[in-house]
C-alpha cells in the first residue's frame, strides 16, 4: 500500500517534471528575461554602462556609445517637436528582470539612457523589476516621481503600463517591442523592423556564400522570430533566387529554454556546416553563441551572423574570425529618441517603428568582412527605404 503511494508520488513528480521540460514553463523567475526579449537577447555582453564604446569605431555626429550614433533625425511618429530639452529634466526607465548588466535588451536601453544623460543633460531614474510583480509598483513609483517620459523595457509591461498610463494622462510613456491595444494618447510603442535588418544580413549571407547554401536558426517558433526569418529569406533570395536556405526553430512557443540552449544550436549548425552550408544566421537569443562556436569548429570559410547587438564586439578573437556581421536592433536609439522627443515637447503617443530609414535597425561592419559588399548592401538599404523593395513581415 505504502509502496504504491510512493510510486504514485514519484510518477506525479516525474510527469510534472517532464511537463515542465516539454512545455518549458520553468518555475524560475529568471527565465522570464528571455521571454521579455522575445528572442532578441544576445549572448554578447556589454556589461555595465557604455562599455564597448572604445572598440566601436563609431562615426562622428551626435553622441556615440557602444557603436551606436545617437541624435540623428527623430522618427516622424514623435510629431517633430521643436522645443529644446531642459537640462535636469527627469526621465524614468523601468527595466525588466535582468536589468542593467544583463548583456542584452535591458543593457541596450541602459546605453540609450546613459547617452541621454551625457548628451542631453537629463536626470535618469531607474528601477529594475526583480520579479514580474515589481513591474506595476516600479511604474507607479516613477510616475509619482515626476519622471517624463517613462520607458518600460519589454512587452511584458503591457498590462501594467496600460493601467498606469491611463491614470497619469500628463506623463508620456514608452514601451519597447510592443503595441498595446487601443488608442493610447500618452504611449509611444517602440517597435523594430527586424525584417528589414534581417533582409540586409540575408543579402550579405547570400553574397558571401560560396556554396549557395545558408541557414537560419530561430529561438521560439513565434511571429516575432518569423519576422527575422522572413526578412533573411527575402534578402538572400534577392541576391540568389536559387539559394538553399535551411531553417530550424529550437523550441515551440513558450519554451524558454529555446533562448538558452547554445549546445543545441551548435548541433544544428554543425550538421548544416558539414552538409555544405557556409553562413548561418541565428535569432535565438543566448543560443546563438552555439552557432558561432560551430562556425569556429567548422573552420575557415564558415560564417555565423549575430543578432540584436554587434556580437563581434564582445566575442573572443577566435570567434571574431567567423562573425560575418550582426543584425543590430537599436533599443538604445529608441530609448534615447523617446527621451529627446518628449523633452522637446512631443505629447501625442504613437507607434514608432525603428527601421532602416531611421537607423533603428541595421547591420554591423566590425571585422571588415562585409566591406567588399558594403556598396551592394547599401544599395538594398536605399531600395528598402525608398519603398522599391518591400520586405515581407512573416
Amino acid at each position: 500500500m505504502r509502496y504504491s503511494k510512493r510510486l504514485r508520488v514519484a510518477s506525479l513528480a516525474v510527469v510534472l517534471g517532464l511537463a515542465a521540460a516539454a512545455c518549458g514553463s520553468s518555475a524560475k523567475t529568471t527565465s522570464t528575461t528571455a521571454t521579455t526579449k522575445g528572442g532578441t537577447a544576445t549572448t554578447a555582453a556589454t556589461a555595465g554602462s557604455a562599455a564597448g564604446a572604445t572598440t566601436a569605431g563609431s562615426t562622428a555626429g551626435g553622441t556615440s556609445s557602444g557603436g551606436t550614433t545617437f541624435g540623428g533625425k527623430l522618427p516622424d511618429c514623435f510629431g517633430n517637436p521643436t522645443g529644446t530639452v531642459t537640462k535636469g529634466s527627469k526621465a524614468g526607465i523601468a527595466y525588466d528582470t535582468g536589468g542593467r548588466g544583463d548583456g542584452t535588451f535591458n543593457d541596450s536601453a541602459a546605453r540609450g539612457a546613459d547617452a541621454a544623460k551625457t548628451g542631453l543633460g537629463v536626470t535618469i531614474d531607474e528601477l529594475e523589476a526583480k520579479t514580474g510583480d515589481d513591474r506595476n509598483p516600479n511604474l507607479t513609483t516613477l510616475s509619482g516621481n515626476g519622471d517624463n517620459p517613462i520607458i518600460a523595457v519589454g512587452f511584458l509591461f503591457e498590462t501594467d503600463l496600460l493601467k498606469i498610463a491611463a491614470a497619469n494622462p500628463k506623463t508620456m510613456y514608452g514601451i519597447v517591442d510592443d503595441v498595446p491595444p487601443g488608442a493610447n494618447a500618452n504611449i509611444f510603442s517602440l517597435v523594430f523592423a527586424a525584417n528589414e535588418g534581417s533582409f540586409l544580413v540575408g543579402a550579405a549571407a547570400a553574397l558571401k556564400s560560396k556554396s549557395g547554401h545558408i541557414g537560419f536558426i530561430g529561438g521560439q517558433d513565434i511571429d516575432l522570430i518569423h519576422n527575422f526569418e522572413a526578412g533573411y529569406d527575402a534578402g538572400a533570395k534577392a541576391v540568389n533566387s536559387k539559394i538553399i536556405i535551411e531553417s530550424k526553430y529550437l523550441g515551440a512557443a513558450g519554451d524558454n529554454a529555446a533562448w538558452t540552449s547554445p549546445d543545441k544550436a551548435k548541433e544544428i549548425a554543425t550538421g548544416w556546416y558539414t552538409s555544405g552550408a557556409d553562413v548561418i544566421y541565428s535569432a535565438a537569443g543566448g543560443s546563438g553563441n552555439g552557432t558561432i562556436d560551430a562556425a569556429v569548429a567548422a573552420g575557415d570559410g564558415k560564417w555565423a551572423i549575430g543578432v540584436d547587438s554587434d556580437q563581434y564586439l564582445t566575442a573572443t578573437p577566435a570567434q571574431q574570425k567567423h562573425i560575418l556581421t550582426s543584425m543590430v536592433k537599436h533599443v538604445d536609439v529608441a530609448t534615447y529618441d523617446t527621451i529627446r522627443a518628449v523633452g522637446q515637447g512631443a505629447t501625442k503617443g504613437a507607434v514608432c517603428t525603428f527601421s532602416l530609414a531611421n537607423d533603428g535597425v541595421g547591420y554591423a561592419t566590425s571585422g571588415g568582412y562585409v566591406d567588399d559588399i558594403k556598396a551592394k548592401l547599401d544599395g538594398y538599404k536605399a531600395d528598402i527605404i525608398s519603398g522599391k523593395i518591400v520586405v515581407p513581415a512573416k
Binding site: 510510486l7 513528480a13 518555475a27 529568471t30 556589461a47 555595465g48 548583456g103 515551440a252 548541433e267 573572443t316
Partner: protein, 441 residues
C-alpha cells in the same frame, strides 16, 4: 552463457522455447543481443527509408553531446535514490554545476572548471542531505527548494563575479553569462582512420568516412556509428560514459555498494547489522551532487564555451525521469538517455528523419510485443502492441511533421519505449521516506 544449476531448477523441466532461451541468458548477453538487434533494425530502416542521418557519424556525435548531461543527471538520481533519498533537486545541483564550471574554466581552465562544477553540485547535494537526513524535511520539498535556491544563487554570484570581467582570450561576462573559458578539454579524433571531424561527403571523404558515405547496407551504418565515437570525442565524454560501468560496479559488486543499496531498501535492517546508514546517505548525496554538477559542468565547458544562465533547460528532470523509467538501474538510464538524445539529435539535425525514427521505434516495440507474447504476458503484449501500431500508423500517414510535434518527439518516444521496456518498475523500497536511526529498535 552459463546456465547454473539453480536456474535449471527454477525453470523446471527444460522446455525448448525461445522465451526460455532468452530468459536464460545473462544480463550482459541480453544487452549484447539487444544492441545487435537494434543496430540491425536501424540499418534496415535506414536502407528502406533512405534517412541517412539515422546512422550518420554526425548524429552519433550529436547524440553523445546531448546525452551526457542527461546521463550525469540520471546517475545523480541513481546514487540518491539507491541510498533512499528522492532527489528532485538535480536540476538545481546542475545549475550550480554550470556556474561552478563557468567560473572555474574562466579563471583556471577547463579541468579545474569540471572540478568546480563537481564542487558546486556537491554543495547542493550536501544541502539536500542535511535537510533530508538530519532534519527529515520532505525530500520533494527540499529538492524543489534547491532548484529555486540555485537559480537565484547563480544570478547573485554572476552579478558579483562575472559582470564586466574579461576572459583570458577576450569576451566579457555579465549577469547571465560568464567570461569565456581559458581553453577547451581536448578532443580525440583519430584522423587517419576517420578523416577530419568536419569533413563532408561532398568533398572527397577518406578512411572510415569514405565507407560511411558509400551508403552500403550495414557496413556503412557500422562505419558511421564507429566514426561517431572516434571523432571529436571529448575526454570529458569518455569520463562521463565511464562513470556508468563504474557506478554499476560500485553499487552491485562491492561491499560498500551493497551497504548503500541496503540503506535504500531497509535501513533499519541494515543498521541492525552495523551499517552506518546516515553516513552512507551523506556520502551518496555528495556523489549524487557531484554527478549532477558534472552534468552542468559538461554543458558549460564541453558543449559550450562559457556559463549561460538557464542552460540546464530542465535536463535535471529529464535525467531523473530516464532513471525512473530505466528502473533505477545504470543500463536502464543509459538506454533512456541514449534514446532521448538520439531522437533529439535527429530532430535537431534533420526533421526529415523523424518518420524513419517512428518506423524504427515501432519495430522495437514490435520486438517487445513478440517477447511478451512468448512469455505469455498478455497485458504487456496488448500495451506494447498497441503502441507499436500507433507508431506504424504515424509513420504511414505522416509525411511531414510540424516543428511542434517533432520537438515533442524525443519526450513521447522515450516515455513510451521505456514504459514498455520496464513493465514492473521497482524503486528502492525505502526511497523518499524519513528515517531516524534507532526507530525500529
Amino acid at each position: 552463457m552459463s546456465l547454473t544449476q539453480a536456474d535449471v531448477d527454477l525453470a523446471g523441466p527444460p522446455r525448448r522455447s525461445a522465451a526460455l532461451l532468452w530468459s536464460s541468458r545473462s544480463s550482459r548477453q541480453r544487452i549484447l543481443i539487444g544492441a545487435a538487434l537494434t543496430f540491425l533494425l536501424l540499418s534496415v530502416v535506414r536502407e528502406k527509408t533512405g534517412a541517412y542521418d539515422l546512422t550518420s557519424s554526425g548524429t552519433v556525435t550529436a547524440t553523445l553531446h546531448l546525452a551526457l548531461p542527461i546521463l550525469f543527471a540520471g546517475l545523480s538520481g541513481l546514487w540518491a535514490e539507491r541510498v533512499g533519498i528522492v532527489n528532485i533537486g538535480i536540476e538545481g545541483m546542475m545549475i550550480l554545476g554550470t556556474w561552478g564550471g563557468g567560473f572555474g574554466a574562466w579563471k583556471y581552465g577547463p579541468w579545474v572548471g569540471l572540478l568546480f562544477a563537481m564542487i558546486g553540485g556537491m554543495i547542493g547535494g550536501m544541502i539536500h542531505a542535511l535537510a533530508t537526513v538530519r532534519f527529515n524535511v520532505d525530500h520533494v520539498i527540499s529538492g524543489f527548494s534547491i532548484n529555486l535556491l540555485a537559480a537565484g544563487a547563480v544570478r547573485y554570484l554572476s552579478a558579483v563575479y562575472f559582470v564586466g570581467k574579461k576572459g583570458a582570450h577576450g569576451g566579457v561576462g555579465s549577469v547571465s553569462l560568464s567570461p569565456p573559458q581559458r581553453g577547451t578539454i581536448p578532443e580525440i579524433t583519430l584522423r587517419f582512420i576517420t578523416d577530419r571531424a568536419n569533413a563532408s561527403c561532398l568533398s572527397k571523404p577518406s578512411g572510415l568516412f569514405w565507407v560511411e558515405c558509400r551508403r552500403w547496407f550495414v557496413v556503412s551504418d557500422a562505419a558511421g556509428i564507429v566514426r561517431g565515437f572516434l571523432s571529436q570525442m571529448s575526454l570529458a565524454t569518455i569520463l562521463g560514459l565511464g562513470l556508468v560501468p563504474i557506478t554499476a560496479w560500485i553499487m552491485w559488486r562491492t561491499r560498500f555498494g551493497l551497504r548503500l543499496r541496503s540503506s535504500g531498501e531497509a535501513p533499519s535492517a541494515a543498521e541492525s547489522l552495523g551499517v552506518k546508514v546516515l553516513r552512507l546517505r551523506y556520502i551518496a548525496m555528495a556523489v549524487s551532487g557531484a554527478m549532477a554538477g558534472l552534468g552542468g559542468g559538461y554543458l558549460a565547458i564541453v558543449t559550450n564555451t562559457q556559463y549561460k544562465e538557464g542552460m540546464t533547460a530542465n535536463r535535471g528532470y529529464i535525467g531523473l525521469a530516464t532513471m525512473i523509467f530505466g528502473n533505477w538501474r545504470p543500463t536502464g538510464l543509459l538506454g533512456g538517455a541514449a534514446l532521448f538524445s538520439y531522437s533529439d539529435a535527429l530532430r535537431l539535425r534533420n526533421n526529415k528523419s523523424i518518420p524513419a525514427l517512428l518506423l524504427f521505434v515501432g519495430l522495437i516495440l514490435l520486438l517487445f510485443t513478440v517477447s511478451a507474447i512468448m512469455r505469455q504476458r498478455w497485458v504487456t503484449a496488448y500495451f506494447t502492441g498497441g503502441a507499436a501500431l500507433l507508431f506504424f500508423v504515424l509513420y504511414a500517414t505522416v509525411h511531414r511533421l510540424s516543428d511542434d510535434l517533432t520537438s515533442a518527439a524525443p519526450y513521447i518516444i522515450t516515455l513510451i519505449v521505456l514504459a514498455s521496456a520496464s513493465q514492473r518498475l521497482r524503486p528502492p523500497a525505502f526511497s523518499g521516506r524519513p528515517y531516524r536511526p534507532g526507530d525500529s529498535h
